[in-house]
Each structure stands twice: as structure tokens, then as C-alpha cells.
Amino acid sequence: MIPTVSAGPLAPHDFGPAGWSPADAAHLLRRAQYGASALDINRAHKAGPLATLERLCVPQPEEPQFERESALLRQTALDTGSTTNLQAWWLHRMLHSANPLVEKMTFLWHNLFATSNDKVKDAALMLAQNDLFRAQALGDYARLLHQIARDPAMLIWLDGNANRRRHPNENFAREVMELFSLGVGNYTEKDIQEAARCFTGWHMRDGEFWFNDIQHDTGSKTVLGSTGKFDGDAVIDICLNQPACPRFIAIRLLKTFVIPEPDSKTIQAVADSITKNKFILRPVLRELLASRLFFSPQTRAAIIKSPLDLVLGTQRALVSAPKLEPTAKCLDDLGQALFMPPTVKGWEGGRLWISSTTYLLRANFATEISTQPKYGPLIDLDAQSSQHQLDTPAQAVDHYARLLLAAELDAKLKTRLVSLASSADSPGNRDRGLLHLLLALPEYQLM
């Protein structure tokens, strides 16, 4: 037997004779973390694709200073109970953790199991839920789904205590199928009613999960074709065994990391990988982020940046010490307040991020970054200019376009940028003006 070589979309990408380029490194970093600095790109380029992926996927030790700062921000959030302080704690991790992909996956779970502190109103429970997401960030989705059904913040969010034997409340049962594991079209209203019975008595007491057996319906139920005296865990196992489940997670991974509208074949390939790896996501992501599909031309500059990608990515590239609270406020204005998803559907993302109101805010963010230290001080442009020998306007345009834009610079666009840069009265103003315009471009909204 000749061993079959995988030729599908998940086959490892061959970088060819040109090799792994700085643009390839930047592509991987912009997707697997919140943006990339010139230093990040340079380091990843030197390290090569395998070592870079290894660093992203395998747990890295955190700096002691990072741990101290994070602990302090966490304690502040617990002491004040304020959502802004919760956000500051998490933004600090997203910006400074040595495990940026873990933070990105933690956000993926927050968006999938979207729970809002607007209703939970308890910073400690929101933190505990966030810890759960982080613990399984690249870990076991199946385990996470079982855990989230017992998570106190979730029990408050989806009215667990209202789910009683004689009066089943369908809220959690509906979302576990519609939004957490299967997606619309893969279950019936009857399945939801029956599943709700299985979760009766899954209550919360004193901030902890409590199985209230008096309120649990012990009768026989039929869910998605199976019949038995099921409880909540049985329903979750039934969901996990549906073919729709790995596909559902595959779509989420593809939309977050690879391409906004994946085709059915690609979805199935990733779903098969998820099934093969028994819902452990580390090997799935590693395969995906090294794949032919991931590095193909169609996936470059294909995703509209979320506010997190935009704001944190800009800061990572251009701001030396980002200020957390103004950043949290800016993300709120742009429609992505952490711990406060708009609904249980989370942030739908893609084109819905962009409207004329949010476009204006994004353009104004570009102005603020380039003119004020509101979100933290801008990197030293003069030092950049001499370090990278940005002697002519064209060199400056090329340098900053490579740093900031995911796509190759279009010739017509370049002409206009060079013309603008040439009209500046000093090199400092030239680069400041150039950054402002690059950040306000439609092209900059893509990654």
C-alpha cells in the first residue's frame, strides 16, 4: 500500500523556492493574535513557520512582570465589580500575554457562549467563566460544553433556576442546540422542549452549580432521535454525537481564522479533523494554521477586522504602551464591549461590524492614534525613519503599508499615498500624515 498523501485544503502549505516571507509571517500573526508589530513580524520571519506555530500553539511561560500586572488588574476588577475593570484585565492579557492565540481562542468561546455581565452583574462569576474558556482555549470543546452547562454565570444568563420540573424553561436548551453546538436547522422545536426537561433542576445556589433533584424531571425523554431517562449531560453527549456539531465548530474556526464564507468541502475537512481529534482543538488549529488553505491567496486580506483586531492590532504595531481604559471605551463605541455581548448570539461580525457610523469611528480612531496620546504614545517616528532608512516618500509608503496592510498595495492607491507624503513639510509630519491615512483606509479594515 502506498500511503495516501493528504491533498485536501488542510494539507501543509509548501512555501516553494521563495520560502516563508515576511508577508506570510505577518498573515499568520494577524490571524493568530491581535495584530503584529514590526518586531513580531521580523522575529517570526527569522524563526520560520514551524517554530512560530509551535510558539503560538504550545503553552509559553509568562513573564513575571506580566503575571504581577495581570493579578493586580484582576484584583481591581474583583474589588470594584466594574465591567470596565474586567475589560481592562482581559485587554491587558490580549495585548501582552506570551500566549496570544490562547487569548484569541478564549474570546472565540466568549463569543460562542456569549454571556453578558449586563444580566449576570457579578465580576467574580464572569471571571470564573472566562477562566473556564481560557483553560480549554486550545483544549477540549466537548468538556467545555459540559462545563458551561454548570457554569454559574451561564445559569444566571439563561435562567437556569426558572427551569423546573413542572414548568420547563427552554432558554438554555434552545441555545445549547441553536448557538452552542449545532446551529439552526439541526433540531426541532420538540427536541428543545424535551431537552429542556433534561436540564430541569440544573440550578445555581450561593454562586455555585446545584443539582436540585426535587425539580428534576426523571421521566423518559426523546432528544434528536434517542430515548431514555436523560439528564443534561446526556443531552450534551447527544449533541456532540451529531454530525452537525463538528461542522458547527469548524465554521466558527474557519470564519475566525481563515475565510468569511468557507465552502462546504472545506468545512467538512475541518469537521473531520475535529472528529479525528475528539474535539481537542490544539492539533486542529495547528493543522489549519499551517495549511495550504490558510496561506492561499484567497484567504489573504479576506476578513473584516473586528474592533478588537483593529484597535489592539493598531496598538501592537504603533503604540508603545497602550492605555487600557480608553481602549475599552473605544471598543465599546465600535460595538465590541468585552463581557457585554449584545445578545446571546454574541457578535455576529463580518460585514455587520461596518456601518457608516462605525466607519466614521474607525476613521476618527485613525486620527486619534496619529495625533494624540489618548490610547498611548505613538512609536518614535523619527527613530523608525532612520532605522529603516525611510529617506523618500515612496520608501515611507512601502514601509508602513507592509507593516499595516494585509494586501499588496494597489498601484493607484500607492500613487496617491506617495503624492500625499510628498506634500508634507517635514519627515515627521510626512509619516504622521501617512499613518493617519493608512489607518483610515478601507484596506486597513481587512486582515
Partner: protein
């Protein structure tokens, strides 16, 4: 091409009717013609203002079937007593908090369309709202909305400018979404400003000009993400300038109540008076999801609706613009006939829509749905919401309804001939 994107509005004196001429490059116009897209352009300067009542308005406590005892039996606590309702005819009445609407009704400016809904009603807010926005109950295709598709039939809208505008929302309502026409949404007029870039005034002007030019560049892949972003950026920059201009001259001709909806409609009046050529405005009033302790909340919301619309029409009348404007209201569903155990009502199905303005064919259209012949405890619809949309598109704005809504939706008779 951006430089040619101008819409010239010429006022013809009488009754504020405007005729609209379009300037666009000849090559491009013939391309539009060849694609068969030229429908019936809105030549009368008419404006549609959609008011979304988000959360599922309790239609039974809005237009009240006061002559039917079943209503009083189903709602021992929440029913409005017979002696307090504002009667429209021998069968139905308006809620007492809709006094301003009743005055407009007496002035022949209100069409009440009863029993509106769609087949197999969905009781999820998300799904039902999507259905009303897309006008596609049978599909989960959320790529565009009914008003967005209508605008695609209009060369003026395709040429740019501000053909429609959503006010007060962070996201563009799905109803206005289109793959080809970009509609601006203005969350707050005060915040709808472009900050000047770095440098002195001339550097700022150069940056803005460069941005205007580069967002108007044609993307390689039509319909792709970059194309979408450029079109949005373009309409954003255009609308910022236009809104900045029209905001100045206007003087209100009415005293508006101090409510959120009134503030939004006042801005709409200002923009209509400023004559930007905008045909469709979209505003939302939320809070109608009254599962518990419904009465005080619902009364406030109805008063807000009624007071804001009345002030808006009065203002427009003082500017001799009211004849050009029609307001249409909808909610994603009505509520159950029976009140629930927590002094509220749960998600239901069929309900009514209001069309308001001098251009309506006034009166109560269609019978109130039976309170005893129900589906799963909910009112049955006899009029599809797309029949009302068809009337608004075809008989009011002058767009062909069939390409937008599909076949078989006979327009409801709610617009004057």
C-alpha cells in the same frame, strides 16, 4: 466617477413636490439600463419613514377589540376598560395613550391595517425580526433587506448619495442592507463628524481629499469585502458632508416631546427639509417585550409613539412637506391573547400596522382577527405583511414590488390613488 455623483433636486413650487433629475456618466447609465434595473423612479420626492417597534408590541392593547367580551375574559388585569378606549368604529378602538394618533385618525391621516402577519409565525425575536426585515419568511438568507433590494432598482440610489438613512442605531438595520447600495446609519447626529487629520488646515484638506479619492477607487472583485468597505467609506464621507450642510438652516415648526423617538423624528424632519434626496428613513423604538408588569411600560411606549409621530407631522406641515411623507409602523410580532401570570403578555403572532400621513387612504382596513379562532393561542393573520410592503413600495414610493417581494402580494389599499 465620484465627482459626477450628484443628484440635482429642482423644486416645482406647489405643495413642495420636487422633481428629480439624475446626473451620471452616460456609459454607466446605459450599463444600468442594459441590466434592466431602471424601475419606476420615485419622481414625486416622496419619503417613507419606517418606525420599528422592537420587542413585539401588544397589538391587542394597541388597537383594542373592545366590543368583544373574549378580550376582557382573556385579560382580566391588562384589558383597557370600555369607557376609556378611543373608539375608531363599533368594533375597535385605540388605546387611551394614543390620543394624538386618534386626532390624526379623525383628520383622515391614519390607516389601521389589521390582522397582519405571515405563515408559520416564528416567536423568536431574532428570527421574526429577520423575517420582517428581509421579507423572506421561508429563507435564512440575510444578505439583504426589503428596502435595500428596492433601492437596487433605483439608478439614483445606485449612483451614490444618501438614498436612505437609518437613525439612532449602531448597526445598519437589515431591512436597508443591500449588496449594491450602501445606506448610512447615524447613531447620533452630534457624533456623526469626521475629525480633521494631523497637520495644518491644508494638510487636513489634502488628507480628506486623498481619502475621498481612494475610497472611490474600483475594487478588483465586485461584491467582495474590499468593494463593500470602499462603498461604505464612500457613503460615509458623502453623508457626513451632506448632513453637516443641511443641519444648519432648519427651524422646527412644532414642539416635540422629550422622548427618544421624538428626538429621532425631529432629525428626520430636519433632513427632509434639507432636501438631501433621501427617500427612506428608518428609526426604531425598543422596549415592547413586555413579559411582566406590562401596563406602565406599554403605556409610556404608546404615548411616545403617538406623541412623536404627531409632532413630526405637524412640523412637516409647517414646512409644507407633510404631503410628501408617510410613516409606517411595524413590530416583529404581536402578543398572546391571554395575559400571563406576571401581569404581562408572551410572544404572539398577528398584529396591526399603522400607515400615517396625508397620503394614506384613511380608515380601518380588514377585520380584527378572531379572538377565539386561534393558532396555538395566537391570532391568525389574514393579511401578509408583504402586501403592506407592496403598497408602500409600489403605490407610495413608486418602486416595482414584485422583484423585491416576489409574486402574489396584492398591495393593501392604504395609499391614496
Amino acid at each position: 466617477m465620484a465627482g459626477n455623483r450628484r443628484i440635482f433636486l429642482t423644486r416645482c413650487g406647489t405643495a413642495g413636490v420636487a422633481s428629480v433629475g439624475v446626473s451620471m456618466p452616460g456609459i454607466w447609465r446605459s450599463a444600468v439600463n442594459a441590466a434592466g434595473l431602471l424601475g419606476m423612479p420615485n419622481t414625486k420626492g416622496r419619503v417613507l419613514v419606517v418606525v420599528e417597534m422592537a420587542g413585539g408590541n401588544d397589538g391587542l392593547n394597541t388597537v383594542i377589540p373592545f366590543a368583544d367580551d373574549t378580550y376582557y375574559k382573556a385579560r382580566p388585569v391588562l384589558a383597557v376598560p370600555k369607557d376609556r378606549v378611543l373608539k375608531l368604529n363599533s368594533a375597535v378602538a385605540l388605546h387611551p395613550k394614543l390620543g394624538d394618533l386618534r386626532t390624526l385618525f379623525d383628520d383622515s391621516q391614519v390607516a389601521v391595517i389589521q390582522g397582519v402577519g405571515y405563515p408559520k409565525p416564528d416567536r423568536s425575536h431574532f428570527r421574526s425580526m429577520d423575517i420582517w426585515h428581509t421579507a423572506r419568511p421561508e429563507s435564512v438568507d440575510l444578505r439583504d433587506g426589503w428596502l435595500g433590494r428596492a433601492l437596487e432598482r433605483d439608478p439614483k440610489a445606485l449612483a451614490g448619495g444618501v438614498p436612505a438613512l437609518a437613525l439612532g442605531s449602531e448597526k445598519l438595520p437589515l431591512a436597508l442592507l443591500s449588496g449594491r447600495v450602501n445606506v448610512p446609519n447615524v447613531q447620533s447626529m452630534d457624533a456623526y463628524k469626521l475629525l480633521p487629520g494631523p497637520g495644518d488646515q491644508s494638510a487636513q484638506a489634502r488628507a480628506k481629499q486623498t481619502l475621498r479619492e481612494v475610497v472611490a477607487l474600483k475594487a478588483t472583485e465586485a461584491g467582495g469585502e474590499l468593494d463593500f468597505l470602499r462603498r461604505t467609506a464612500d457613503v460615509t464621507l458623502t453623508s457626513v458632508d451632506r448632513l453637516g450642510e443641511v443641519a444648519k438652516a432648519y427651524k422646527s415648526g412644532a414642539t416635540y416631546p422629550e422622548t427618544g423617538l421624538a428626538r429621532k423624528l425631529q432629525v428626520v424632519a430636519r433632513l427632509i427639509a434639507g432636501d438631501m434626496g433621501t427617500q427612506i428613513f428608518y428609526v426604531s423604538l425598543g422596549g415592547f417585550d413586555t413579559h411582566s408588569r406590562q401596563q406602565p411600560v406599554h403605556e409610556l411606549l404608546l404615548a411616545e409613539l403617538s406623541g412623536a409621530i404627531a409632532a413630526f407631522l405637524k412640523d412637516l406641515k409647517s414646512h409644507k412637506l407633510a404631503d410628501r411623507v408617510m410613516v409606517a409602523t411595524f413590530s416583529e410580532f404581536g402578543r398572546r391573547v391571554d395575559e400571563n401570570g406576571s401581569l404581562g403578555t408572551d410572544h404572539g403572532a398577528a398584529s396591526q400596522m399603522f400607515c400615517i400621513g396625508p397620503g394614506v387612504k384613511p380608515g380601518v382596513t380588514g377585520a380584527h382577527p378572531s379572538l377565539t379562532d386561534l393558532v396555538d393561542g395566537d391570532l391568525k393573520h389574514h393579511t401578509d405583511f408583504r402586501q403592506v410592503y407592496a403598497a408602500l413600495l409600489q403605490n407610495w414610493l413608486g418602486y416595482p414590488a414584485e422583484p423585491v417581494l416576489g409574486k402574489g402580494f396584492q398591495p393593501v389599499d392604504c395609499v391614496k390613488g
